[in-house]
């Protein structure tokens, strides 16, 4: 029990509200601006961030690079292979012409295929991360805010999705879907393969975001500022998107930035076990899978895509960590 003076007349009127020092800027810094400042000061973040930007530019500019480089991703250089289909020269045929050498067998240029693989990989990963984040945020926020049977149903679907072996289902589902749309003999376009992959990721990938958002929303739901909006007659949309989401975008952003490398990895893994993309579409996983057959004869072939994908995922992970630190200074890595 607080002990305030008994008599009202004795209450002193001390105004502190208006006597603010004028030196402080009138425009305040939002929590987002503060996080951005912290991120700017973090050297790891800036380094990995620039590396990411570099990778994205490479992916975006792939056709431009092809023009400058002068070699397309499907061109074959059989004349540079020996009688067994092995590239001539050292380190898998690395020359001034072919920077990363040639693929054994088909004799395609590895460098330009990696650039296009980067493009495919980043596109799929970003698209999948965006879609899963959207589904996860909407379902998680609804489940957390409304609770009741909706929460129970969404929770159960989450459990169910987690119980399904993702790789096997994806593996089995992709050809089934392809057959559904193309029949037995149809020529599958690479855009379709990409679309199917994104769809499979979307179906299986939203659960972690949904869980995260649900937990955060439940923690915020009973906070008084949410009730204040409710007492003013705010509707569901205002509650979710104006009141709740602005308070949880930090963890959502972090989970998004860590989801992208996961999808890069998953795409490569799926391509590796032979679903998803056809051999026509350049892809990291596909290249590594093919390179396993030449592990003894042409070890350079496995290193270029392997190191490329490592660098990409590494940069994303570093950046995601730095982002988490910037957004939540209290958390320890």
């Amino acid at each position: 029990m607080s002990l305030s003076p008994v008599e009202g007349v004795a209450l002193a009127e001390i105004e502190s509200g208006t006597g603010e020092p004028a030196t402080k800027g009138v425009v305040g810094r939002s929590p987002g601006q503060l996080a951005w400042l912290r991120l700017r000061r973090d050297r790891t973040a800036m380094l990995s961030g620039s590396l990411l930007v570099f990778f994205m530019l490479l992916g975006l500019a792939a056709p431009l690079i092809e023009m400058v480089y002068g070699i397309g991703p499907r061109e074959q250089f059989q004349n540079l292979l020996d009688g067994f289909g092995m590239p001539l020269g050292y380190a898998g045929g690395v020359t001034g012409e072919h920077w990363f050498g040639l693929e054994p067998g088909l004799g395609r240029d590895i460098f330009i295929r990696l650039i296009y693989g980067l493009r495919t990989s980043l596109f799929i990963a970003f698209a999948a991360a965006l879609i899963t984040a959207t589904i996860g945020v909407v379902l998680g926020a609804l489940a957390g805010y409304l609770g009741g049977w909706l929460d129970a149903v969404i929770n159960w679907i989450t459990d169910l999705t987690l119980a399904m072996p993702f790789l096997i289902i994806a593996l089995a589902l992709t050809p089934t879907l392809t057959l559904r749309f193309y029949g037995e003999r149809g020529q599958v376009s690479s855009a379709f393969g990409v679309g199917v992959l994104i769809a499979v990721f979307a179906v299986f990938g939203w659960t972690s975001t949904a869980r995260l958002v649900r937990g955060q929303v439940i923690a915020l739901r009973e906070r008084e500022f949410v009730e204040a909006a409710r007492a003013s007659g705010a509707g569901l949309g205002h509650m979710l998107f104006r009141q709740l989401l602005p308070n949880i975008w930090a963890p959502i952003l972090v989970s998004f930035s860590l989801a992208v490398p996961q999808f890069i990895t998953s795409e490569a893994a799926l391509s590796f076990i032979g679903v998803g993309l056809s051999d026509e579409t350049p892809s990291f996983g596909r290249m590594i899978y093919r390179s396993l057959d030449f592990l003894q004869t042409d070890p350079a072939y496995v290193f270029f895509p392997g190191i490329m994908i490592f660098a990409l995922v590494f940069a994303f992970n570093l950046f995601g960590d730095a982002l988490r630190d910037a957004l939540d200074p209290k958390s320890s890595r």
Partner: protein
């Protein structure tokens, strides 16, 4: 405790039931004739029709499903074309490998177990140990090295690590034989030497994740009041860290570990593909490639069983480690 277990098992059964229905629908009901995949090329329509009949594909879906489930629980008669009587747990007959699916599973399951269990022991010891040491020696070169290790490991791909390991230890140094599976009971030395690369590859990647996780957990625990209280009342460092802090820090690690092991037991697809070992995962991939529906169905179900069981086990372990968790 018993009530909690029963409740938990009930919901697990419900989840498994839903997984089985979904898988069934996905593979049997989608408009892809499952038979075309099962019959080698150039089969005539009569043979196709017979296979379809043997598989019961002309029956309504519900009775197909009921028959399948009945087979798992009590066994059933599949007809002479499918090896006659099929004992419980009957998972059907594969036209591709011409054997009962349960026989296939019985052959490949020990392979996956032999890969996952030693690897899991290795990655837990390595990962948690590294995380603890780096949390207790925070800021030293040891800590920084551990962070570097875990960041690198978390970004590496299993198939790439596997390829490098193969290249170095098998093809260049010739220290190890080409990976293969031999039963532990036939020849333990050969069992270990054939699988050690798979263990190392899996353990390397997973321990990176676990080192990160347990370091963060340990740091959080060390800053909590009860640890400070324990130190302040004069308990020795090893007692505090070993008994009080470790116990609290390891709880979330156990959860993740349980789920990871459960998931891995369902098939280490990438590992098996990289090292060319025929386990559950590789079998599933082959089944998908050849359109072998009964085998696909069986591998998916088994994987789901492992995940769901791991969930139940984790809940129980959780309660055993953390007395705050009330079993209701």
């Amino acid at each position: 405790m018993a009530r909690f277990l029963i409740k938990r098992l009930f919901s697990a059964t419900l989840t498994l039931f839903a997984v089985s229905v979904l898988t069934f629908l996905m593979f049997f009901a989608l408009p892809r004739d499952p038979v075309t995949g099962m019959c080698p090329k150039n089969c005539n329509p009569e043979r196709l029709e017979r296979v379809r009949d043997d598989l019961g594909l002309n029956d309504p879906l519900v009775s197909q499903y009921a028959g399948y489930m009945k087979g798992i629980v009590t066994g059933r008669d599949l007809g002479s074309a499918q090896g006659g009587r099929c004992d419980a747990p009957c998972l059907g007959w594969s036209y591709v490998s011409n054997e009962a699916v349960s026989d296939t599973i019985a052959r490949v399951l020990p392979v996956t177990l032999s890969i996952v269990i030693p690897a899991a022991i290795l990655w837990l010891l390595l990962g948690v140990g590294l995380g603890m040491v780096s949390a207790l020696r925070r800021g030293t070169w040891l800590d920084r090295a551990a962070i570097g290790f875990s960041l690198t490991g978390a970004s590496l791909q299993l198939y790439f690590v596997g390829a490098v390991l193969l290249l170095v230890f098998v093809y260049n140094l010739r220290l190890l034989p080409v990976p293969s599976y031999t039963s532990l009971f036939d020849n333990p030395a050969k069992w270990a030497s054939g699988l050690v690369l798979a263990w190392v590859a899996l353990a390397f990647l997973f321990s990176a994740i676990y080192a990160r996780l347990s370091r963060a957990q340990m740091l959080e625990t060390l800053s909590e009041d009860f640890v400070r209280t324990a130190r302040a009342k004069g308990l020795a460092k090893p007692t505090v860290y070993g008994r009080h802090a470790l116990r609290a820090a390891i709880t979330p690690v156990v959860t993740i570990a349980g789920l990871d092991v459960g998931g891995a037991l369902g098939g280490t697809v990438i590992t098996e593909t990289t090292f060319g070992i025929q386990g559950l995962g590789r079998t599933a991939v082959d089944a998908v490639r050849s359109g072998d529906l009964p085998t696909i169905m069986a591998t998916v179900l088994i994987a789901a069983v492992f995940v769901v069981l791991a969930n139940v086990l984790v809940d129980l372990l959780y309660a055993a480690i953390d007395p705050r968790v009330r079993l209701r």
